[in-house]
Each structure stands twice: as structure tokens, then as C-alpha cells.
């Protein structure tokens, strides 16, 4: 690997990015997702956090440009130069430009945007070109699939030379150590345990938190094993906001920010799509929890202290929503982090608490610690 002379780097660990101009060859949602996954590739190796903004000046301004676009490095039309990025610094520093004349794609028929963006963000973080042909920072284009992408060793060494390693380098599936002997309290047990998302997947129950998830049989809380999300859901690359399954269709939906992925079991069904397909207003940028009600064939989406109702049969959002959640589900207090319907009851997860809600009594009939669901 190589660093820029003077080794410019960002002096903060949280960087903002903004996509200020898009390309006609890909949907905005696809560009958003590719950029997010490309940034995730780096944040999995170093303690950097990327926060997206849609207004004003961000540390990393991302745009698709044509020809001479004012930075004295004009683009050259199809092929040739694909993109460039500036070393860390004020103003132009970190900014990343893609040549609009190229055919950008999420696949292989054209130039894969994830591949080029991941390379360019290496520059925006302080890496120059590497002479290692296997490195992401090698100057010439070589397709990389975002699905299951692992940052090559040379690039990990380079970026960690600038920012040090992330506490747990999540590029490789590391399963937290569980004591070898029986039912002693597993390490992942602490009273503050909360979940980002809970869903059935096939016959299993999955609990997501940060970049880890636990899977268990519905009636068997012991022997729960944690895995890293990226080991089974490489496309997600990071934590999950919400998830639900429509058993009749055999499909599950995973939400992250304004995107969602459809899976059959653990098998992704294509690239990420935009949550506005469900009919959400643009004011909704992410979902806190999703709850599929099998009999009613509706899915409730929880956003802040409200929730929306989506008719799975008609495939559209129901009228008269959003509604206030506490008014609709008495006894369930606090923001809903996750929810799942099991054996006729609804289980709401809010921070370290899990509420068992009886839809007939229309009331909460039990409260347990969230962590008790993963064998604690």
C-alpha cells in the first residue's frame, strides 16, 4: 500500500458524506446503497463512522461529473479514467467524482459502482495507489462483488496504518467467544441487551444487534449461537434496522436506512431497493421495527412513536396511517426497536424490555428482559 506524501488523514472519526449529483445510468437508491456499502467496506476495518447528509457541505462530497468539471482533472468520456478522489483535507479534500460518461452498474455489465467507489473512498481516506495487483487500491479496474466483499490484506494494512484497527475487525466473521461448558451465562448476556430487529426466518427466530445476530428455534431458547451479520448476510454489510417474514411467500425483508433487501431464507434476491416502494412519505428515512400479522396479512412499520400499516395482499399502505403506537397498543411504552408475532401473541422489544401483547385482550400480558430470548 502507499499513503499520500505528508500522510494526510482525517482528524476525526465521524465523517459526513453527501451525494450531490446522481447518474442517469443507475437509480438513486442503487447509488445510495453502493456508496453506503463502499464506505462500510472501510469502516469494517477502522474506527470510522460515516454519516450521510442531504444538505450543505459534507466532508466527502460525492458526485457524477462530465468532462471538465472545474477541478483541473477533466474526465475523458467512456472508459479511460473512471473516477477520482481527493486526499483528506478541507474543501475539495475527500471529494469523490465519478465520470458520468461511464455505464455504471450494480452488477458486471458495465463498471460496478461499488468496486470503483470503494477504491475512490480509499483515496478520500488517505490511501494512494498500491502496487499490489490484489489490492483494492490498485489503479486499474477489477470487478468486485459487494456481496461477501472482504477488504484485501494490503488495503487493511494501509488504512489501519492511518487510523488504527477497529475494536473488532468485522471483515472476518468473528463469533464472540462462548464459554465451552454448558448453560453458564454466555458473554453476550447483559441486562441492557436490546435488539435492532427480530424476525422469523423459515422455522428459526433471528435476533439482530449491531453487526451480530442470534438464531434459535422458537421453542428452544438454549444453545443460541451468535454469528456476524456479514457472515450470513454479506450484502447488509452492517447492522439491520428492521426485518420481517411473510411465511406464505417464503420471503423475508431486511431494512437498513432507506433501503431494503428481499431474501428467501438466507439467499438475497437481488440488489437493494428503496423503502418508498411501500408507499412511505419521503420524510421517513429509516424504519425502527417491522411486524407482520399473518392472519390479517398486514405488516406494521414502526417509525418513532407512530406506525404505518401495509396491506400485503393489495401491496399498498393503508389509509388513515400513521397512528400513535401507545394509543393503539396500550401498555407498550417506549420506542419500538423490534417486533414479531408468535403463536398468536405480539412481542414488542423496547430497549432491554420485551412486552408480550395479547391482541384479544388488547393489553400487555407479560414483560421479560429482552436478553432472556437469547438464553440469558
Amino acid at each position: 500500500y502507499r499513503l499520500f506524501p505528508g500522510e494526510p488523514k482525517w482528524k476525526k472519526n465521524t465523517l459526513t458524506y453527501r451525494i450531490s449529483k446522481y447518474t442517469p445510468s443507475l437509480s438513486a437508491a442503487a447509488v445510495d446503497a453502493a456508496v453506503e456499502m463502499a464506505l462500510c467496506a472501510w469502516s469494517s476495518a477502522v474506527p470510522l463512522t460515516f454519516v450521510r447528509t442531504d444538505v450543505g457541505e459534507a466532508d466527502i462530497m460525492v458526485s457524477f461529473e462530465t468532462g471538465d468539471h472545474g477541478d483541473s482533472y477533466p474526465f475523458d468520456g467512456p472508459r479511460g479514467t473512471l473516477a477520482h478522489a481527493f486526499a483528506p483535507g478541507e474543501g475539495l479534500g475527500g471529494d469523490t467524482h465519478f465520470d458520468n460518461a461511464e455505464t455504471w452498474t450494480l452488477g458486471m455489465n458495465g463498471f460496478n459502482l461499488f468496486t470503483v467507489a470503494a477504491h475512490e473512498f480509499g483515496h478520500a481516506l488517505g490511501l494512494a495507489h498500491s502496487t499490489d495487483p490484489s489490492a483494492l487500491m490498485y489503479p486499474t479496474y477489477k470487478y468486485q462483488s459487494p456481496y461477501g466483499f472482504q477488504l484485501p490484506k494490503d488495503d487493511v494494512r494501509g488504512i489501519q496504518a492511518l487510523y488504527g484497527p477497529r475494536r473488532t475487525f468485522l471483515g472476518k466473521p468473528t463469533v464472540p467467544h462462548i464459554p465451552p461448558h454448558g448453560p453458564s451465562t454466555p458473554e453476550h448476556c447483559d441486562s441492557s441487551t436490546s435488539f435492532d430487529a427480530v424476525t422469523m426466518l423459515g422455522k428459526e427466530l433471528l435476533f439482530f444487534r449491531d453487526r451480530i445476530f442470534w438464531r434459535r428455534q422458537v421453542h428452544q431458547p438454549l444453545g443460541v449461537r451468535p454469528s456476524t451479520t456479514t457472515s450470513s448476510f454479506p450484502q447488509l454489510m452492517a447492522n439491520v434496522d428492521a426485518a420481517y417474514q411473510v411465511a406464505e411467500r417464503g420471503t423475508a425483508y431486511f431494512f437498513k436506512g432507506p433501503h431494503y433487501w428481499v431474501t428467501r431464507g438466507f439467499q438475497m434476491q437481488g440488489p437493494p431497493q428503496t423503502i418508498y416502494d411501500f408507499g412511505f412519505p419521503r420524510s421517513v428515512q429509516r424504519i425502527d421495527a417491522a411486524l407482520h400479522l399473518q392472519e390479517a396479512q398486514r405488516t406494521l412499520f414502526f417509525v418513532g412513536d407512530e406506525h404505518y400499516s401495509y396491506d400485503e395482499k393489495k401491496r399498498k399502505m393503508e389509509k388513515d396511517y400513521p397512528k400513535n403506537t401507545e394509543e393503539e397498543f396500550s401498555g407498550v411504552n417506549g420506542q419500538i426497536d423490534a417486533a414479531v408475532e408468535l403463536n398468536g401473541y405480539i412481542y414488542f422489544f423496547s430497549g432491554p424490555k420485551s412486552f408480550k401483547y395479547d391482541t384479544e385482550k388488547e393489553d400487555v400480558v407479560g414483560v421479560v428482559k429482552s436478553s432472556s430470548w437469547i438464553g440469558c
Binding site: R2, F4, P5, G6, P8, D71, S72, Y73, F75, R79, G80, T81, L82, A83, H84, A85, F86, A87, G89, G91, L92, G93, H97, D99, F111, V116, H119, E120, H123, A128, H129, T131, P133, P139, T140, Y141
Partner: protein
């Protein structure tokens, strides 16, 4: 004649490539990677061949020409 034309095209292609990726331009560091001052084309060709692990001849041979034609990142390669 055709081979002469092809050779001329290759020469201009190489010249443009070396100007873009192996010549310092000053201003904001975009990839920073430029050679100090305006070295001759032969010297820059050698830098390119060394960077990509090609046989360092200073000549515009086939492997070098093939490398020059590959789509790539716009950030210059050679550090000063």
C-alpha cells in the same frame, strides 16, 4: 503506413497517459502521485513499468501498451 499510424496513435496515447498519471500538476493533492519536474518520456515509462511490475525497458512495448489501455482510477500513480 497503417503500422506507422498505429505507432503514432500508441505514442500519443502513452504521452497522454504519462501526462495524466506520471506528471506532477501541483494544486490540490488528487492522488498526489506525480514525478518531480518534467522527466523525459522514457523515464516516466520506466516509472510506469516499475509501478505495474512490468519489465522495465523504457520502451512502449506490448505489455505496457495493454496496461495503458485498461480502464482505471483518475488519481496519478507515482509519488514525488
Amino acid at each position: 503506413a497503417p503500422s506507422l499510424l498505429a505507432a503514432t496513435n500508441s505514442y500519443h496515447l502513452a504521452q497522454a497517459y504519462l501526462d495524466k498519471y506520471y506528471t506532477k500538476k501541483g494544486g490540490q493533492q488528487i492522488g498526489e502521485m506525480v514525478s518531480r519536474g518534467g522527466s523525459s518520456m522514457v523515464k516516466k515509462l520506466k516509472e510506469l513499468q516499475a509501478f505495474f511490475g512490468l519489465h522495465v525497458t523504457g520502451k512502449l512495448d506490448q505489455p505496457t501498451l495493454e496496461m495503458i489501455q485498461k480502464p482505471r482510477c483518475g488519481v496519478p500513480d507515482v509519488a514525488n
